[in-house]
């Protein structure tokens, strides 16, 4: 069920610095290959169809600090080094995961998020699970969610939560998590549709629902998020093979573009798998230092300090930046939208909400 990798940490440093983002042609080939065959994590090289739309600029990646070292600062963290959005009408959101500790680290990330919003005005925040650790008394919701993100909540920034394995499913009734009383749900923001899953309990009913919703989606961007990563280089948990065997074929079939997960207490960007971009951001309040066991999956990783992501879904590409608790850039880049003949153009896309 879970793959485990035991490579030395220093290798991660080398790879992370040199990580690069696949071009759209490579991704198209991967997706084509992925729909024909499942499983192995290796990328498949096939002739790629021509990309639609303008050629995106070359990818860029910032080398993160060396894993195992810490950028944590005592006292007030420095303001985050945030790059403003590139496009006018992009969908801007933040990604946090494994947050609900109520500890100083969570408050620090909450503060950085609020500060980052002045330069990168994200509309909403997605939470990839483990929203409330430990007891779930009313005061826990205050200490482990409301207080750390008070500034954002006061600014009416909505949060959209997925359930983690530390979350009582009754969290779906907690209005500030915007789950509409459902363990799994979907919503749209601009040109993007988000599919939020309960990866703790992937029963047949949920799978059927997912396929139904994906098949109906005519949105330009299809984003899925849930707690357990399908691909991970984590030493403690690793890739969720069971879950992957169930949802990945649907992601490929219906053209999911990006997947976010948590569970692993670090940040990791996975090399595109079968045409899909994968991120793990489970280090927004807990950190498993040195837990990334660099593997062939790893494009970039950061397990030295707490982190959060800022994301922009543009017309032809997604831009992302990952910042540490200390406000330092950890990873960033631009991921071109996959060529997909079924994808609506920027003109005919449906907008809602």
């Amino acid at each position: 069920m879970r793959a485990r990798y035991r490579l030395p940490l220093y290798l991660l440093t080398l790879t992370v610095g040199a990580a690069c983002v696949s071009a759209p042609a490579d991704l198209a080939a991967q997706r084509a290959a992925g729909s024909a065959q499942q499983a192995p994590a290796q990328q498949t090289q096939k002739p790629a169809p021509p990309a639609r739309g303008p050629t995106p600029p070359p990818p860029s990646v910032v080398a993160p600090p060396e894993p195992g070292t810490t950028t944590a600062t005592k006292g007030a963290p420095a303001p985050p080094a945030v790059t403003p959005p590139s496009e006018k009408d992009g969908v801007l959101f933040a990604v946090i995961g494994d947050t609900g500790t109520g500890t100083q680290s969570q408050f620090d990330i909450g503060k950085q998020l609020a500060t980052a919003r002045s330069s990168f005005p994200f509309e909403f925040v997605i939470m990839v699970g483990d929203n409330i650790y430990g007891s779930e008394r009313p005061q826990d919701f205050s200490q482990k969610f409301e207080k750390p993100y008070q500034t954002l909540l006061d600014a009416k920034v909505p949060f959209y939560a997925a359930l983690g394995n530390h979350d009582d499913p009754t969290q779906r009734y907690y209005k500030p998590f915007n789950m509409n009383g459902e363990r799994y749900y979907t919503y749209t923001k601009g040109s993007a549709r988000f599919f939020v899953l309960d990866s703790n309990y992937m029963d047949q009913k949920q799978l059927k629902w997912l396929e139904d919703q994906l098949s109906r989606s005519n949105d330009r961007w299809k984003i899925a998020y849930f707690h357990h990563p399908l691909y991970s280089s984590g030493g403690r948990h690793g890739s969720e093979i069971d879950l992957r065997s169930q949802v990945e074929p649907l992601f490929i079939k219906y053209g999911v573009d990006v997947v976010f997960a948590g569970h692993e207490h670090f940040y990791e960007r996975i090399k595109p798998q079968k045409g899909i971009y994968y991120f793990t951001e489970g280090g927004s309040a807990k950190i498993a230092k040195g837990d990334i066991k660099k593997s062939e999956l790893t494009a970039a990783g950061f397990d030295a300090d707490y982190s959060f992501m800022l994301t922009e879904l543009g017309k032809e590409a997604m831009r992302f930046q990952v910042l540490s608790r200390g406000g330092k850039p950890v990873d960033s880049g631009m991921l071109p939208l996959m060529p997909d003949p079924k994808r609506p153009s920027t003109d005919d896309r449906t907008r809602s909400q």
Partner: protein, 214 residues
């Protein structure tokens, strides 16, 4: 003589045949109404298909689950479902009230009441079959999140300070489907039936999972 045969022996044979056939019909449709009105005559009744024992056991399990739901529905009439709220007090109060009411209504519940003695071997086989497909590291990973010796019992809330172990999707696909109100969970080697919104263990199949290899 011929008249005698026609008037006495033939009717007797017909009557005797009819009695036997009727008995045969009752035997092959045990539990069904004995009426044969409008049915084919005994001579044309096809052999009844054998009942799949697994299906029969699963049907009985579903029936017990339905009985639980019936009881639960009665209780939820008095403790209405919580709507989305920003007040976590309301959510936890409802969860607690529902759990307590169900536990009180099932005060005499014993392990296996819902899983059923008849279905226990089947559940254990499903778990064992799934277990065999997993590598030792994967098996171990199922338990990494929970401390050893976690105490679980019927009519007790699942400890809120502990994570809920993720039930592997492929295992879930093999287990009988449950209604939304219920879910399977694994703690140590035990398989639980948990009421999701009441956070209540409603049944336990102790030591249902095979032992971990050392």
């Amino acid at each position: 003589m011929r008249k005698l045969i026609l008037s006495v022996v033939v009717p007797s044979v017909i009557v005797a045949f009819g009695v036997c056939a009727s008995a045969q019909t009752r035997t092959s449709t045990a539990g069904q109404p004995a009426s044969t009105a409008g049915q084919p005559t005994a001579a044309t009744v096809p052999p009844q298909p054998r009942v799949n024992p697994t299906a029969e056991v699963m049907a009985a399990f579903r029936k017990r689950v339905d009985e639980y739901l019936k009881l639960r529905n009665e209780i939820t009439k008095k403790i209405p479902e919580v709507k989305e709220t920003g007040d976590p007090n309301k959510i936890s109060a409802r969860e607690k009230a529902l759990g307590q009411a169900i536990a009180a209504a099932r005060a005499s519940a014993k392990p296996g009441d819902v899983f059923g003695r008849d279905a226990t071997p089947l559940f254990m086989k499903i778990l064992a079959d799934d277990w065999r497909t997993r590598k030792p590291a994967d098996r171990k990973a199922v338990f990494t999140e929970l401390p050893k010796g976690t105490h679980i019992n019927i009519n007790q809330p699942y400890p809120t300070t502990l994570p809920l172990l993720t039930v592997p999707g492929n295992l879930l696909a093999s287990l009988p489907v449950l209604p939304d109100e219920l879910e399977y969970r694994v703690v140590d080697r035990h398989l639980l039936l948990r009421d999701r919104d009441a956070n209540l263990t409603i049944d336990v199949l102790f030591n249902a999972l095979p032992r971990m290899e050392k």
